[in-house]
């Protein structure tokens, strides 16, 4: 991991090209990028990248595709700032600049292997988790049951809906959805994400839970998971912070003594339960 070549610049991004861009929700665009070097990005599920537009700036963005899907890597960007706003103005063939991948990964090759998997995602929390879901589906026999719970604020904010059929049709996969506030087109359940949890049957002896969502979601979901008798080390979550530099220097993403950009963004719950600022 340690870079000691004094001529390597940890802040210099490399060029990549927009392969595909399309609106996904009123706030979010889907992007597919390809490194100009022709190399694979080399990430693992759960990691993020720093995406630059020269003159606008740089922002940390989760990688949404699995490394099992070669050639390009995907992101979903919510238009909430300068860089994300500029990204939304890009078209196919435009250039961006990338640093990374950074951070820890969902334990797809370790703790998750052979286990039942319970993915619990709120809103754009599904974005990094989709990388793990794809990875699991592409290595389907390596894992047990897959349960995906997805909650969006409104039906319009649901993500990756065109892939849900593919996910559901995979062997032994359950996908349940809810929205906080229904509209006229929605016939599914209404309610916060925890209302879906009694609907799944969890074998606490062989389940790993993966959680990603807005900060408010974690403690409610974790309370429910502990009621399932899951141990703290069976729960993994991804923390959102401002990972400004990505290399553990700038201080912005620090949570007490840990740097989310290097020690995270994916944490085992048992490792951060005692860290005051984490949840």
């Amino acid at each position: 991991m340690q870079t000691i070549d004094p001529n390597v610049d940890i802040y210099r991004p490399v060029p990549a090209t927009v392969d595909e861009v399309k609106p996904m929700t009123p706030l979010e665009h889907f992007f597919s990028f390809r490194l100009d070097s022709g190399e694979e990005f080399g990430h693992m599920p759960g990691q993020f990248a720093e995406v630059s537009i020269p003159g606008i700036g740089e922002a940390p963005i989760s990688i949404s595709s699995s490394p099992t899907r070669k050639g390009s890597f995907e992101m979903v960007v919510r238009n909430v700032g300068n860089v994300s706003g500029a990204l939304h103005r890009l078209s196919e063939g435009d250039k961006v600049y990338i640093r990374g991948p950074f951070g820890t990964t969902f334990p797809v090759d370790e703790a998750m292997k052979g286990q039942d998997l319970l993915f619990i995602c709120g809103g754009i929390g599904l974005v990094p988790v989709r990388s793990a879901i794809q990875y699991v589906l592409d290595n389907r026999d390596d894992y047990g049951r897959v349960m995906i719970l997805f909650g969006a604020k409104t039906p319009r904010e649901r993500l990756f809906t065109d892939e849900f059929d593919e996910w559901r049709s995979a062997k032994n996969v359950t996908l349940l959805e809810t929205v906080d506030h229904r509209d006229e087109g929605w016939s599914g359940p209404e309610g916060v994400i925890t209302t879906l949890m009694p609907l799944v049957k969890v074998d606490e002896t062989r389940t790993i839970a993966i959680i990603c969502g807005p900060p408010i979601m974690y403690k409610f979901v974790i309370t429910e998971l502990l009621k399932f008798k899951l141990r703290e080390d069976q729960i993994y979550l991804s923390l959102e912070r401002h990972m400004k530099c990505g290399v553990g220097k700038c201080g912005h993403c620090q949570v007490n003594n840990i740097y989310v950009c290097q020690d995270g963004p994916v944490f085992k719950f048992s490792d951060i339960n005692a860290i005051e600022e984490a949840l």
């Binding site: 390597v8 802040y11 740089e58 909430v80 700032g81 994300s84 290399v247 220097k249 007490n256």
Partner: protein, 342 residues
């Protein structure tokens, strides 16, 4: 290398020779205070200063520093410092802070921008001649320094002892002509001065040994002092700005008038500023002043020590002077944690 002894005239001649050869920054008077700045002549150098307004970190991590240049069509190019320079008159406590920051920028991911500046720098440390009103370096073990510098100069009764320790120091000291080796009496006086300085640089008295601070903080997360002090905090970030061990930064792009080219710059940031831990979309993970105030103390007294094995407060006292709300005295805070245990 033997320690040299220079009288005032020989010392000034040496400084002049250094200035002729390369960029030299040194401590000079600024109004009724002192500051590091480009040194034009030896007579401006004020090694009798008490403390500078800003620490010398500005030469290794400039307040605004170009990391990269960019062209919107061609991408990014790295910019590195490539010209040697000298910093004259760094106090021991500030040198300790520089050595700590070196570790933090080099460890893990290697920050070549910072490290190349450090490589280009020759640092002349000067033993303290005047104690500043708020200094407590004596309590922090940083009133004197044993190594890590290129050259150490010590004023002994109007003469200077010049203690040269590194290759860079030797190169700078080449301009010293015909100076005698330091005599035993001068060396003894230097030892006495070190002992005196440890006593004198304690304008505030820490009631515990600094090495217990990580443990003390470990037990004090919910202590009422964080709220009490932060209630008066303006979130101005002055304590961050003047701190020799603060190095958090922001990065921003500046475009030139063509809108085609520009620079990506690193600028100082501060964890006391209200938006420091905010993310896009508006959520602020350290929204309360007390959370930000406490975080700074924990960085200095616990988190960084756990990483590098040293307390990241060197007792310069600049935060005490800079804080307009008068809440930034670390000794006062630490002593309260010791005596008002909850």
């Amino acid at each position: 290398m033997p320690i040299k002894k220079l009288d005032k005239a020989a010392f000034d001649t040496w400084v002049e020779a250094c200035i002729k050869k390369q960029r030299v920054y040194g401590v000079q008077a600024k109004g009724d205070r002192f500051a590091f700045g480009p040194l034009a002549r030896a007579a401006d150098l004020r090694l009798d200063y008490d403390v500078t307004l800003l620490p010398p970190k500005k030469y290794f991590q400039p307040p605004c520093e170009t990391l990269l240049t960019f062209d919107r069509d061609k991408g990014f190019e790295s910019v590195f410092e490539d010209e040697p320079f000298v910093v004259f008159g760094v106090h021991p406590y500030d040198m300790v802070a520089i050595l700590q920051t070196d570790k933090l920028f080099a460890d893990g991911q290697y920050d070549a921008h910072y490290m190349k500046r450090r490589e280009q720098a020759t640092i002349v440390v000067s033993d303290v001649q005047t104690a500043s009103p708020e200094v407590f370096a004596g309590c922090m073990g940083t009133a004197t320094i044993k190594d890590g510098f290129d050259i150490l100069v010590t004023d002994i009764e109007g003469d200077y002892l010049v203690d040269i320790r590194t290759k860079k120091g030797e190169a700078l000291a080449k301009a010293i002509k015909n100076a005698p080796d330091a005599d035993d009496i001068s060396l003894k006086l230097r030892k006495l001065l070190w002992a005196d300085n440890t006593e004198l640089l304690q304008k505030h008295m820490l009631d515990v040994r600094p090495d217990i601070l990580p443990d003390l903080l470990g037990r004090s997360y919910d202590h009422p002092i964080w709220e009490e002090k932060a209630e008066r905090c303006y979130s101005c970030g002055s304590c961050n700005l003047v701190c020799p061990t603060c190095y958090c930064f922001d990065v921003r792009d500046d475009v030139d008038w063509t809108l085609q080219k520009g620079e990506r710059r690193r600028v100082w940031d501060g964890c006391l500023l209200s938006e420091f831990a905010a993310v896009a979309g508006g959520h602020n993970f350290r929204r309360h002043r007390a959370d930000r105030y406490r975080h700074r103390y924990y960085r200095k007294g616990k988190y960084i020590p756990e990483k590098i094995g040293e307390i990241a407060c060197v007792g310069c006292g600049r935060c005490i002077t800079a804080c307009t709300a008068n809440i930034a005295n670390p000794v006062e805070v630490y002593n309260s944690l010791v005596h008002e245990r909850k």
